[in-house]
Amino acid sequence: MSNEADRDSALLQPNEPPEIQAEIPNRREFLASGALLGGTCLAALAPTVSSGQTTTAGNFEIRASDFIYTTCLQCNTGCEIKVRVQNGVAVKIDGNPYGPRSMDPHINWNTPAAQAAKINGMICPKGQSGIQSNYDPYRVVKVLKRAGKRGEGKWITIPFDRAIDEIVNGGVLFPQDGDSRVTGLRELYALRDPRVYSAMAADVAAIQARRMTVAEFKEKHRENLDKLIDPDHPDFGPKNNQFVFNWGRLKGGRSDFFLRFVRDSFGSVNAHGHTTVCQGSIYFAGKSMADQPVGGGWTGGAKAYWMADTAHAEFIIYWGANVLEGNYGPPLKVPKIMRGLASKRLKVAVIDPRYSKIAAKAWRWFPIKPGEDAAFALGMVRWIIENERYDHRYLENCNRAAAVADGEPTWSNGAWLVKIRPDGTGGAFLRASEIGLGGDADTFVCLSGGRPVAFKSDDATNPVHGDLFVDTTVNGIRVKSALQLLFEESAKKSIAEWAAIAGLAASDIITLAREFTSHGKRAVVEIHRGVSQHTNGFYNVLATMGALNLLIGNVDWKGGLVYGGGAYGETGGTGRPFQLGDHPAKITPFGIDIIRGGASYERSTIFSGYPAKRPWYPLASDVYQEVIPSAGDAYPYPIKVLFLYMGSPVYALPAGHSLIPTLMDTKKIPLFVCSDIVIGETTQYADYIFPDLTFLERWEFHRTHPSIVHRVSPVRQPVVASPNETVRVFNEEMPLSMEAVFLAIAERLQMPGFGPRGFGASGDLTRPEDFYLRMVANVAHGDSSTTADVCPDASEEEMQIFREARKHLPKTVFDEERWSAVVGPNWWKKVVYVLNRGGRWWSYEQGWTGEKVRAQFGRLVNLYQEKAATTRNSMTGEFLPGIATYLPQTDSLGRPLQHGDAPFTLITNRNMLACKTRTISNYWLLDVLPENFVEVSTVDARRLGLEDGDLVSLTSASNPAGRWDLGYGNFKPLIGRVRVTSRIRPGVVTFELGWGHWAYGASAQMIDGKLIPPDPRRATGIHANSAMTVDPYTRSPLSDVVGGSAVFYDTKVYLQKVGRASG
């Protein structure tokens, strides 16, 4: 190695924090400055009365009152946890033994709290480290307002009330930007009358259906045109839509509260989550598969998908699913998998370019080429069909009656007839009325013994069985069965050809297909990000989770594919005591949203041929990577205010660096308000940061995910006091939180739905507990619309435990008198009963009934997606395929991706020790893995002369400089340490997500003129997302334009050795 390279490596140590030039004061000076970060209020927090061990006399004891049961948020699994509090400090997190996610099997929910105290459940290393997410030295505890330019790292602290006044009233808020006036929320709160909303929404629908002209609309609504974004485009909706609320991790309860503000009260259609950065194309393929035929269209499918009944499956294919480290559920799934393997009940196969930890326990590992999942799956489909290894009995059922007769909870549309277009592709289903068999728009046709038979999907009395493979003409209409279309897709190539595309062998396909079809209903394909985060993600999902599982008809079966037990009706419903939807003037917002989710380009008033300026997502929503870039392009309209809650798109998204110029541009995003617990990679560009509560300080209802077969309502509740400043809203004192921000804005705007009579006749909404305790009471009410499932009152002993355990909480957090008044005396002790257990759920045994799961999907599952097949791609103008198909990776215009001659496909992986953006503060975890690595296969390393510990730089066609450009001349180079391993497919390199930070305490920040020094432990490792492909047309992260997934795994990169490790 040359001296020059040595010098470079010294310059480019990945351990170094980003190059923010500032003088670092010594610690004493810093502390004397009394900055505003977490813990400066510790003295004020010191409890007057402590719970837990208060003395050094005697031995260690375990008392029920030492614990508060709540719900983890160190990742989105949301395990039930039990937190030990000592002198007001959370010191230890254990699994909650009552919890389905944290004990296997979980103990009876009615076990007295005193008995549960000494039983601890299971929780993962991140869960254990939640203590350090909470007690983070870099926490923000007062409102920060930027004092310099966006992202410059200069802040002042300002009073909460002043901050709220500024964002509500607008004005010249940032003199350093010149005299430009910022539009405040009051001005955007333009349209307020719910009746006008309804009338306009109906007429916009009429315009889209070409039943009304824009001119007619303008005439009819002339008095309110000034409240629209653009009267010439009424389908943009009112100015209220220029307020955009975007979130990263938002769960139930808080979501209900926040959306009550954004949608129901403020009237903005722009409330967007982050789904597509995780696994959007799984959700939206799942939604499509779950849609039911109604009125000639398809609707009702939830944004959800299916997973394995891990506790009973005999064979699971973990496909792009790192199940032992992520994938919704180490504490939930690992015990079931490991016990299953040890007892030989279970056998697993792994399809993943990387040898994940589950591969280390697997029967077989198939190191597939990234993104070629559909090829491998279609090879399996072909073999299964040609060898008749599918479940004929399941697939021929065309409707509910036929399924019920076979004891099948679900049925598919595999035997339904699809009309074939002249180009040979499948279009809409044949309707019975088209061939003179009568019926309505939802009456379909199959061939039964060669004769057309009409049926309705949900008909429970007339069973109809269809012929499976049909290719014929009926009354002159060319038709094929959906299964025939699937088979033809699979028969486009030989099994050997499919295997070659996937980079595997034909024998691999056959071996796996044979095993998969050798366990009856107790085999499952379980997928995750590895399948979906590609430009072809939607169709990869249909081929894997969809086609393969449906071929064996395993849905709702014990050990099969399950949809999850859902949550209790937390927000109300028939028979429940509180209706959280009660609102004196609820608005239903209208208009195309800025990500064009669920919207039709062709029906919009801005249709101008193909390609559209940016993609439209008629089958998806919550397209995270579209929010900020769409604001940047002002497409379909400009925004005025962006609120970002618990999200870091710059860090989390692939090619997140492409968002930074827009975030820094005060013309494109005139007001950028963030809620965060620290100054993070994205919130560092904020105009205002409002400190939020951590997961150990707040309320939330985490709900569930598909792999939990039980009905579950875990509750997240305050465990410790917050260091945040106390604010006063609606005459109530509370620690600063996102709820406090919304309440304060509502108070300023005199917005219905909050404050006194916020629930109308049903009561006040002046503090968070008014909302959340009502939800807990609904959980206490239980499953039934009658009182049959109402939970018991907490005993006097349990009431004492409850009070004792909360003695350290200040009155602004816990006030028994105030709390009990929210739900009233009839419900208070039941609420305590639920809170003493951290939530409510079915007992373990209740998860299954005989050979089925108790909570069943119980409806049609679509093998063929008619809605997709009749929808055009907004970029190419072509119809989308309706059946699982193989697509190569492309840009948004459908062109092959250009990587130059870059040799390595870059993928990412989850290490259980990190949760993307928010665990770098967890020093215990960093102790185990202080930095992440660029993992390179043994074969490639030998070729490149790389050894363990070498430093490599990553570059790509769209990031040839190989760095993050953070603005103002600050860069973070894409340099990481190599780990050479046989555990990855040659030609593929990976890195663990969660390291390589440049904010979140990893960079210096100037607050009130004082410098907060960075912590170099937080800057280690590499975060290589900015090497990922920027779409050449949209100039934003690459996207699956059908399912919405942000694309992580379709980039090729160069590796260049830049130095040797110094050790």
């Binding site: 510790l42 050094t56 031995n59 203590i131 490991m338 393997l341 595997l504």
Partner: protein, 307 residues
């Protein structure tokens, strides 16, 4: 970073010589692309000697072990035993962190660690995960290395330190005597005292070796003292399982009383082949391991640590 145990906390890169040979045998680097390679079931001479796996115990084992623990505390003279089934270990380090939270330790130090090793045994990578902590040896080398009384073998089998006396040179001697590097000398370092705001959880009281302790800088008596795993004896005596045992999502560890008839630790060791660390040294450990493999995992041998 200088802790001698640290290297094993880190995931080690594997010596790749044998793997490369194996790869050469099947052709080239592209051989991996033929994928789906079955494990070498029964091809290893050692594997053939292992009896077929016994039945996996069913039910809620954490509850059962906790009940047995209380039973042993109230009625018997417990002999605590930890049985480790590495087949189910996934190397997640939940135990590592649980241990650090329950028994406060400083940066780079932990009483429990998990060895992760890639074994070059075939064309497919083979990975073993193995938790390790103080073995509570009946014949403990550490006890022999220091004056009598500083290290005590309790009646229940736990090896306990007198942390007031086992300091300085004695602590160093004990540390050096342990063949598994399971003894640490507390250096007094914390995680947050060099940050903008030291955090209270690092100052908390905890019960160790029979007395209340703190790691609060300047107030702590611990710096320079030897420390190690003691099966979370404070939890055990209060009726709860050791932190690593209960938090383990793989259900890797069985903990209980070898003296209790029908206890889970007795049940699961019945008829098993047991692996003991440094058997040649006659340590008589209270932490023992299943030797067998699952169909698709390597069986446990010295390679896990000493390859």
């Amino acid at each position: 970073m200088n802790d001698p145990n640290r290297e094993n906390i880190q995931e080690k890169a594997t010596p790749r010589r044998l793997f490369l040979q194996a790869l050469a045998a099947v052709g080239s680097g592209a051989a991996l692309a033929t994928g789906g390679m079955e494990l070498l079931d029964g091809t290893s001479a050692q594997a053939a000697e292992i009896p077929p796996p016994l039945t996996e115990p069913v039910g809620n084992l954490l509850v059962r072990m906790q009940r047995e623990l209380e039973q042993s505390l109230s009625t018997g003279r417990p002999q605590w035993l930890m049985v480790v089934d590495t087949r189910k270990c996934i190397g997640c380090d939940a135990c590592t962190i649980a241990c650090k939270a329950e028994n406060p330790t400083g940066p780079g130090v932990g009483f429990r660690r998990v060895i992760k090793r890639e074994l070059p045994v075939g064309p497919r990578p083979w990975v073993i995960f193995k938790p390790i902590n103080c073995l509570q040896c009946d014949d403990a080398p550490c006890a022999k290395a220091v004056p009598q009384g500083m290290i005590r073998k309790r009646p229940d089998g736990i090896v306990e330190f007198d942390s007031d006396r086992l300091r300085g040179a004695y602590a160093q001697a004990a540390m050096r005597a342990c063949p598994l590097n399971q003894i640490h000398v507390d250096d007094g370092k914390t995680y947050t005292y060099d940050t903008p705001q030291p955090q209270e959880y690092e100052e908390r009281l905890f019960f160790e070796n029979g007395k209340w302790q703190t790691r609060k800088p300047r107030a702590s008596q611990l710096p320079d003292s030897a420390r190690k795993c003691n099966f979370c004896s404070h939890l055990v005596e209060a009726g709860a399982l050791p932190a690593c045992v209960s938090t383990c999502i793989g259900g890797v560890m069985y903990f209980g009383d070898a003296n209790l008839r029908g206890s889970l630790v007795n049940e699961v060791t019945q008829g098993r082949r047991i692996f003991k660390h440094h058997n040649d040294m006659g340590l008589k450990p209270r932490v023992i391991y299943f030797e067998e493999s699952m169909p698709d995992t390597p069986h446990l041998d010295c390679n896990a640590c000493h390859y």
